[in-house]
């Protein structure tokens, strides 16, 4: 039978994901095929999935985006706070009219936050969602197979 899954409904659209330019990332191999015909204990299912190439790929796609992104925005934020408290002279330097470096930096924090949000949403939608969904079903199929029941 088919299961209703809201992920399928949601794949088409979304706020902040309005660009249609992106192409879904190449398929990753399914985890299930690698184990077919092998008997597994329930606790081993997750270990097996974790070691599968499909999962390793999803995890590294996630970490490769998130780790540099967090490092960059956190460093940028700390630099902003430290500069505002220790170098008020620099922040007071005028840029245009009443707007000074501090104002530009503060608004820059808003801009980078919005941009990173957009980039993350796009990355997750194009490079992670489909593969994660396949893995989810494969994992649940495997778990169900181990329990020996239908659901």
């Amino acid at each position: 039978m088919r299961y209703h899954d809201p992920w399928y409904d949601a794949l088409a659209s979304g706020w902040g994901e309005l660009d249609g330019a992106g192409v879904p990332a190449p398929e990753v191999p399914a985890a299930r095929r690698e184990h077919e015909g092998r008997a597994l204990r329930a606790a081993d299912v997750y270990l097996e999935v974790q070691r599968s190439a499909a999962f390793q790929e999803v995890r590294s796609r996630y970490l490769r985006f998130v780790v540099p992104a967090v490092a960059v925005f956190f460093a940028w934020y700390v630099a902003y706070v430290v500069a505002a408290t220790t170098a008020p002279g620099l922040m007071a330097r005028p840029v245009a009219g009443a707007v000074n470096v501090g104002m530009v930096a503060g608004l820059g924090q808003f801009v980078t936050t919005f941009l990173l949000t957009w980039a993350y949403a796009r990355h997750a939608r194009l490079r992670r969602d489909r593969a994660a969904l396949e893995l989810r079903w494969d994992t649940q199929e495997l778990t169900r197979g181990v329990r020996g029941g239908v659901s």
């Binding site: 706020w15 081993d44 974790q50 998130v66 430290v82 000074n100 919005f114």
Partner: protein, 529 residues
């Protein structure tokens, strides 16, 4: 403040209370009383609905009244708060929202306990969640008390006390009768009201200055008496190095605390999938970002139109800047001004009420789902978890009312900053370690929670907030030892350090299979409820 303001504000606020009570009854009409329903609203909210509700939970009176007041009084230094409150959402979006939705059921402790020995971890995470929630609640209660005495003119202690008691009683009714579903709808209504009011005020400000932001900033600088220094950092936090470190400490607490706030974490469970949780956070980033950009405009407008002196005269902490601005924008001494003022006052009350309900729900979930479930004697007759949660909501309401009455002279923004610092020290390290560190153990988890929680609270007790300065809680005595008001700079690293230390010293071998399960579930959503 004339009688007209008060009557109209009271009428509008009564309207909000009536509508929300209506929602509560309507929602609880055909409830089933299951835990799923009570804590997570059945998990069937759409990302947009949940995004509005998250924004509603986050935009508290501290943002609407407190931050605009700080900008009106100190110019640029008030803006630093706004940036911290907002950038914090990236931590939530990138590291927390989806993974927490996939791994947990109702609370923060669910995520951690999945990998660890359950009892000690649940007790630790439950305790810290309740502590953070109570601190945040007290801040909102104190805000409600000050707001009412400012708006209703009289500063009589009795009026304040009754307001605090009234707010507490209403929140207990919302939460214990309506659960998460009613609370979410109340947040949505409140977020829409607050955002439309803010948009209307911003439009009026821009019309007044003919859309010329430069002129707005220049008149604010002119009116402030500080000249262009008003538009640069340093007026509030530029003094000695203690003040500067205090601000860095606060900045750290703001950006890392949001991801550890129990009432924000519990919101991710009200949507069906991790993808929906991500889209709720994207919605709320859009809403919260727009809101904070507008509060910056409103803060500088209050400085330009009302003037810092008039603001300070009405309330030393600046909390009345926006109501005063509304009075002037509508036309002073005219019907327009009266109406706008009353609307702003009523919306501020509604904000406090809704935020308070959200926090009470999250903390009653921690009490029932984490503490009660772990601490009750095994032989005792098991009460249903939801019944315990309803009772806990009443208990937390009573505690918050009592503390709110005791702490009524403390600064609201400070209390919120403290809640953020405790959340960042006690909740964030354990959450990140259990999601991302393969070798994390039970002892590490317990140490991470207590190693952040205890220093954070102890440093506050020893800080000038409690004793040793004219503005302290107990000005008569002096056991001040720690110079900073916000403990974040010290206690957040201590939380991370304690978690690491507990893990490397523990004899327990981390369970490979359980880590695999957490990781697979977190990233794929397999087995998520």
């Amino acid at each position: 403040m004339t009688g007209n303001h008060q009557t109209l504000a009271l009428l509008l606020f009564s309207g909000f209370v009536a509508v929300t009570l209506g929602i509560t009854t309507w929602v609880s009409r055909n409830r089933h009383g299951s835990a799923e329903e009570f804590y997570a609203g059945g998990r069937l909210f759409s990302p947009m609905e949940n995004g509005f509700a998250i924004a509603g939970d986050y935009m508290s009176a501290a943002s609407f009244l407190g931050v605009t007041g700080l900008i009106a009084l100190y110019g640029y230094d008030g803006m630093l708060y706004v940036v911290g409150f907002f950038v914090a959402w990236l931590v939530v979006l990138l590291l927390v929202a989806e993974l927490v939705r996939n791994c947990g059921r109702f609370t923060l402790a669910d995520v951690v306990a999945a990998r660890m020995s359950e009892r000690p971890v649940r007790i630790a995470a439950g305790t810290s969640s309740v502590t953070v929630s109570v601190l945040y609640l007290v801040a909102q209660m104190v805000g409600a008390g000050s707001l009412v005495s400012l708006l209703l003119g009289g500063t009589s202690p009795a009026a304040r006390a009754w307001t605090v008691i009234g707010v507490g009683a209403l929140m207990v009714i919302y939460v214990s009768l309506g659960g998460m579903r009613a609370t979410t709808w109340i947040q949505i209504v409140k977020a829409v009201l607050l955002l439309s009011t803010t948009v209307a005020l911003t439009v009026l400000v821009l019309l007044r200055f003919h859309g010329n932001i430069d002129q707005l900033l220049l008149s604010a600088a002119d009116r402030s008496g500080h000249g262009l220094a008003f538009l640069a950092p340093g007026l509030k936090y530029g003094g000695d190095w203690t003040a500067r470190f205090d601000f860095i400490s606060l900045g750290l607490a703001l950006v890392l605390g949001t991801a550890g706030l129990p009432h924000i974490l519990s919101r991710f469970y009200t949507v069906p999938t991790a993808r929906a949780a991500r889209r709720s956070v994207i919605w709320s980033i859009g809403l919260v970002g727009g809101f904070y950009l507008m509060t910056i405009v409103l803060g500088f407008a209050a400085a330009a139109i009302v003037g810092p002196d008039a603001v300070r005269k009405s309330n030393a902490a600046g909390n009345t800047a926006v109501p005063l601005l509304a009075l002037d924008l509508g036309g002073a001494n005219s019907t327009g001004g009266t109406v706008l003022f009353a609307i702003v006052a009523a919306v501020a009350f509604a904000t406090i009420l809704a935020v308070v309900a959200g926090i009470t729900l999250a903390s009653s979930a921690s009490v029932a789902h984490d503490l009660y479930a772990s601490l009750r004697r095994p032989r005792a007759k098991p009460y249903s978890e939801v019944a315990v949660a309803r009772t806990a909501a009443v208990g937390i309401g009573v505690v918050a009312i009592a503390l709110g009455l005791l702490a009524r002279d403390l600064n609201v923004a400070f209390l919120v900053g403290l809640a953020f610092a405790v959340a960042a020290s006690a909740n964030l390290p354990v959450l990140l370690y259990s999601l991302f560190w393969r070798g994390f153990t039970t002892r590490g988890a317990v140490w991470a929670v207590y190693g952040g929680l205890i220093p954070a609270l102890a440093l506050v007790l020893l800080s000038p907030v409690v004793s040793g300065s004219p503005d302290s809680l107990f000005p008569g005595v002096d056991f001040q030892f720690f110079p900073l008001q916000n403990p974040g700079l010290v206690s957040i690293p201590l939380g991370f350090l304690a978690g690491w230390l507990g893990t490397v010293t523990s004899p327990e071998v981390p369970d490979e299979a359980k880590h695999a399960e957490t990781e697979v579930r977190a990233l794929t959503g397999a087995g998520a409820v």
